[in-house]
């Protein structure tokens, strides 16, 4: 497990090391995969109390209309995503997808309306490509800034609100997907009530030089443990959330991925601003006619985890292959294997029995509704 020195470090690197993190290369960064507690305890702790995640490797981008009118920035962003950006009120955030001309997904992201600009958070592995894509397509209309000067952390779990309220009482008035500026420990932060675990929680953008101070303050709280990328992955899997590069990519469309809820009415056929995003004809056709395959949840009957790459068949001999697992592992709160993958639409109904190829055997699995654990968002 050599961690080479040309990897980038987050502003919380020294703190991560002091917390006993095991560091691994991830998306060009040296990132904590787990801390002293280990993946299992970190996962369970997040759902029982609160977990703090360093996600500073993700890309934070501000999009500011050169005209000075934020509506122009909304219009520009709508040429890249099938999402109603113009209808997003100030102080609110929405899940979005950069699509390509074939209807595939270039990345998934969050878009927040910050009043005089939009604030966008993209995946670490895609951020350079996303930034180039935005600059090429909307750089004329918008000033784009990639904020390497800010850290990003997530505080997730049922105790997150109470912990954060000790630093900033107003936090309790925020609803799921609200975004606000606030001072935490005299650091100018941007807080959104959102996350990647299925739990209530917050994502906090902090100026890099103050990130360690704010995080130490949060970690001082007895309910908070630092949580690595290992548990981040098992938490999002139990929550049924897509990992870009595994469950969605340029070869999958938003409709195949079951993300049509992210395409609001205004952008659909007959909507006020129908289409006008890359791949619109493919995606809007699929919305009307249904896709040939769907992303589904899978529960295994036994204890053996079914992992990414396993083929899915309708028969125990594995001859009639109808799909592939894209993410899978052990769900600590489910206390059993959980997975997701793509299957032909005819096999996508919850309750459908299938067989997953694991080490030369075909193990019985069942198509299951996601999330695998109930989400606890404060809507």
């Amino acid at each position: 497990m050599d961690v080479s020195s040309d990897l980038k470090k987050t502003p919380l690197h020294a703190l991560n090391l002091s917390l006993g993190a095991r560091m691994v290369p991830f998306a060009g960064y040296e990132m904590p995969v787990q801390y002293a507690a280990g993946v299992m305890k970190e996962h369970l702790h997040t759902r029982a109390a609160a977990g703090l995640f360093d996600v500073s490797h993700m890309g934070q981008v501000t999009v500011r209309a050169r005209s000075g009118d934020n509506a122009d920035a909304a219009r520009a962003l709508e040429t890249l995503v099938p999402v109603d950006v113009a209808g997003l009120p100030e102080g609110r955030q929405r899940y979005a997808l950069f699509t390509n001309d074939e209807g595939g997904i270039l990345d998934d992201l969050m878009i927040a309306n910050r009043g005089d600009h939009f604030y966008v958070v993209v995946n670490a592995a895609c951020k350079e490509a996303d930034f180039a894509h935005m600059r090429a397509k909307i750089g004329e209309a918008c000033e784009l800034t990639l904020h390497d000067d800010r850290a990003l952390v997530a505080l997730q779990g049922p105790r997150a609100e109470a912990v954060l309220a000790e630093l900033w009482a107003d936090i309790s008035s925020m609803r799921f997907m609200d975004v606000r500026a606030c001072d935490l420990h005299d650091a100018g932060c941007i807080v959104s009530r959102s996350g990647y675990t299925g739990e209530d929680g917050f994502e906090i953008s902090i100026p890099a030089d103050l990130a360690e101070t704010v995080c130490c303050r949060l970690l001082d709280h007895p309910d908070v443990l630092p949580i690595g990328l290992g548990a981040r992955d098992s938490l999002r899997l139990e929550a049924g959330l897509c990992l870009y590069g595994n469950d969605i990519d340029t070869g999958t469309t938003p409709v195949e991925a079951g993300l049509e809820w992210a395409i609001q009415k205004a952008r659909r056929r007959g909507g006020a601003r129908e289409g006008g995003f890359p791949g619109a004809s493919v995606i809007l056709d699929q919305l009307e006619n249904g896709p040939e395959r769907r992303r589904v949840g899978l529960r295994a009957e036994g204890r053996a985890p079914v992992r990414a790459g396993a083929v899915l068949a309708t028969d125990p001999e594995g001859e009639d292959v109808v799909g592939t697992v894209t993410s899978g592992g052990f769900g600590p709160n489910v206390d059993g294997p959980v997975a997701m993958g793509y299957v032909a639409t005819a096999s996508a109904e919850p309750g459908t029995p299938l067989y997953a190829g694991v080490r030369g055997k075909f193990l019985p699995v069942t198509v299951a509704a996601m999330p695998f654990v109930k989400n606890t968002f404060k809507r």
Partner: protein, 120 residues
């Protein structure tokens, strides 16, 4: 006689039968195990063959057969409770007993001092 492999297995050799498990170092590196798959009794393996599989929350890993031989007993206790491998890797968390094809092959494995040097 206690021997170790570079793949982080230990062998306790009594006569021509070796009790095989993974080392404390390996168990720590893998993290909390959630699933163990053991070979069938009677199965034969060559050195380096995939004899067992262990899975943590994060990933699956193979446990290699440390020497040529035949499986004569497996530890079902660890399939029922994989956490035994984490709590007592070099005791109650043993994996299988291997009847060695050539007892002398064990001479080529590391002793405890050499293994400790390997894992630092």
């Amino acid at each position: 006689m206690l021997k170790f492999t570079e793949e982080h297995e230990w062998l306790k050799i009594e006569g021509d039968v070796a009790t095989v498990g993974i080392t404390t170092h390996a168990a720590e590196q893998l993290g909390d195990l959630v699933f163990v798959e053991l070979p069938d009794v009677g199965a034969t393996f060559e050195k380096g063959g995939d004899a067992a599989t262990v899975e943590s929350v994060k990933a699956a890993s193979d446990v290699y057969c440390p020497l040529d031989g035949e499986i004569v007993e497996v530890n079902e206790a660890i399939t029922a409770d994989p956490s035994l491998v984490n709590s007592d890797p070099q005791g109650a968390g043993w994996f299988f007993k291997l009847k060695l094809a050539n007892k002398a092959d064990a001479d080529g494995l590391m002793d405890e001092a050499a293994y400790k040097e390997l894992v630092g």
